[in-house]
């Protein structure tokens, strides 16, 4: 999993360099991590499943074997996290 927070002070990490494995070119800079990458693996999986099901909470509930309001609350939790990252 992509590390997003500093193991020493817990501050949010930034991308310093990206490297091409084919020609070994390295691009360096100070890039922000995308908002989705900041979410936990479970939350990212939830979002991917949500998109795969065309945004249907009802189908998500069936797939996860959870009730509709529980799935809705999970989504609300992710929305809250995204809002806090974007602040």
């Amino acid at each position: 999993m992509l590390p997003c927070y500093c193991p020493s002070c817990q501050a949010q990490l930034k991308v310093k360099s990206l490297r091409c494995e084919k020609c070994e070119t390295e691009v360096t800079g100070n890039y922000e991590l995308p908002t989705l990458a900041l979410l936990s693996t479970e939350d990212q999986k939830f979002i991917l499943d949500f998109v795969r099901h065309s945004g249907s909470l009802k189908e998500m509930a069936n797939q996860l074997n959870l009730s509709y309001p529980t799935v809705r609350n999970l989504l609300n939790g992710i929305i809250e996290k995204i809002k806090s990252y974007e602040k």
């Binding site: 509930a61 074997n65 959870l66 009730s67 509709y68 309001p69 529980t70 809705r72 609350n73 609300n76």
Partner: protein, 210 residues
């Protein structure tokens, strides 16, 4: 793992059940509770109270059940609309109806001590202590204590189910959800007790088991 899943489902069935499915299960249990209550002359007389009903009609027991449910449903719906805007009506209907299911166990749990309560009521009304004196033995005290402990355990389970249903519907978390739930619980109890008293013309006995 399976055992853990069973216990978590027993305390919070709403992670798996919601909407119309929960409503029909809850409705079936509510009708069974009404039938048992009619047969043994016992009914819910508030959100957290079970009481005696003198010579009840089936409609009286059903009114008590439905009033308790309707008040809890209405108050929860209002809180849910304020706290989370995308709540479905069928979820409110299903979760609140299913959350009333432990009342069946509370009604059944009061049956072993019904005679004792009736004797106590007669003593308080007419000063007739004959029946009450007959019950005064060490054995009956132990029996009453055991039934009381069981009833308190069922009551705690009932409140937990109500809380989990409330939390699922309103999406409130932490201390805020506990505080608002306590306010809702007290409000619903007072309101449903008052409405039951009003609509049943006082035929429901105010001497409550719980």
């Amino acid at each position: 793992m399976k055992s853990n899943s069973f216990w978590s489902l027993l305390i919070n069935p709403f992670t798996r059940l919601g909407g119309w499915k929960a409503f029909f299960i809850g409705l079936a249990i509510l009708l069974i509770t009404t039938a048992v209550g009619y047969f043994y002359e016992v009914a819910p007389i508030g959100l957290l109270y079970i009481g005696l009903v003198e010579d009840p009609q089936l409609s009286t027991i059903l009114i008590c059940q439905l009033l308790v449910l309707a008040v809890f449903m209405a108050v929860t719906y209002i809180v849910a609309l304020v706290s989370t805007k995308n709540v479905r009506f069928q979820d409110i209907l299903g979760v609140t109806t299913l959350s009333q299911s432990p009342i069946l166990l509370l009604v059944l749990g009061t049956l072993p001590i019904k005679g004792i309560v009736e004797a106590a009521i007669n003593f308080m009304k007419d000063g007739d202590s004959t029946a009450l004196n007959q019950l005064q033995s060490v054995g009956s005290y132990v029996f009453i204590l055991c039934v009381a402990i069981a009833l308190v355990a069922i009551l705690i389970w009932y409140i937990l189910i109500l809380y989990n249903g409330f939390r699922t519907l309103t999406d409130l978390k932490g201390g805020k959800s506990i505080f608002i739930f306590i306010v809702v619980l007290i409000l619903c109890d007072v309101l449903s007790s008052y409405l039951i008293c009003l609509l049943t013309d006082g035929t429901v006995n105010r001497f409550a088991f719980l």
